[in-house]
Symmetry: C2
Subunit: 244 residues, 2 copies
Amino acid sequence: MNTIRLTIAYDGTAYIGWQRQAQGASIQQLIEGALAQILGETVVLHSSGRTDSGVHALGMVAHFRTERNLPLAAYREGVNRLLPRDVAVQEALEAPADFHARFSARGKWYRYALYQGVVCSPLLDRTAWHLRGALDWTAMEEGARLFVGTHDFAAFRSSGCEAKGTVREIYAVDLVREGELLYINVRGSGFLRNMVRVMVGTLVEIGMGKRPAGDIGRLLEGGDRCQAGRTAPSRGLCLMEVWY
Amino acid sequence: MNTIRLTIAYDGTAYIGWQRQAQGASIQQLIEGALAQILGETVVLHSSGRTDSGVHALGMVAHFRTERNLPLAAYREGVNRLLPRDVAVQEALEAPADFHARFSARGKWYRYALYQGVVCSPLLDRTAWHLRGALDWTAMEEGARLFVGTHDFAAFRSSGCEAKGTVREIYAVDLVREGELLYINVRGSGFLRNMVRVMVGTLVEIGMGKRPAGDIGRLLEGGDRCQAGRTAPSRGLCLMEVWY
């Protein structure tokens, strides 16, 4: 039995998200379909996690197991020939038999992109959140630092999140300006559903002066989702990397 | 009579190009439609030039004339509310009565984006040309320099181009690396149909070692379209700015 590890990039705009669902086009379904054509058998792709509708990835990781012994190129070039242009396998590697894209993961890097301007920018619109008006970057950096460490993130998740444990470790939250884009890079051990988007939504409210930076500390203690900021739109979020 | 000058940005992927045509969605038709709703009268938008299907713009300029005296904000915020997310008016200004977006233009800046990699990159795919394999950047810069100046660009246009005169002045061709993207910036007095895309296609063939940099000089003297490189895909091209 071979365990194959794929690194996958996609523009999530046209999809209902990573996970296969009864209705709608998912990334998982697309790649499983292409693999079935290449392999002549159906396989199940296990990913490092889900991404929601509209969320992008440059470094999603998933694995599958197969008895077939195809060259690794078949899982990249071969599969890519069967995929639409907004999804592509970036790398295919053999992995140890006990590798599991989700359970072996040690951490993830998500990047959230913002841009400011009076008018929206059509060429950034699919991949960044457009905000009018100025942001207090210093206050946002102050708030961002409060996320770092091991905390209960119960206040920073979607109401539909069913995870039992809500304690996660955040390694770093970095704010970077690159041209007209502002990136919020979040690295951590694991993430609750919508966690990065609620963190970003709260940081943006701090940047707009709607709440003090210290709110983050109170939210990490209080755990009340209703007190945190709005969920930032999915379009700005990109899963950059998963570490093993 | 008021003359209004608009600066317009768009993601050209979904459109047949700038110009209104019998079939298909054009940028011109979209904005004229929104202006008609705002103004309560039909106006004709005159642009600095056309862009082909799939070509993008950050700084397309167009003007129209109207007897109505609306605040300029109506032509930006008002129009943008009626446009889809991939088209947006960036700026609306009053212009002198004799301003004409095409005939008053003194020059234009086009940017062409390339990216290299074994695998295509879904998040760059709409706005850049993906090339496998290495490019000889030095040879491309050598070739690029030969374009600068006043030349007959008859070899660097589409076979469908009907312009009588084919002499144009190129002010500068700069090659810039920015992250994973390679930009070819072309500034000039005016451009024939597909001229930038044929210039880029020829430069890429030089970068791939398929032809020497000196070919550009020969093509500018010879004027034979069949001898120039392939037309680079529209997706990589963006009209950045028009000067008046």
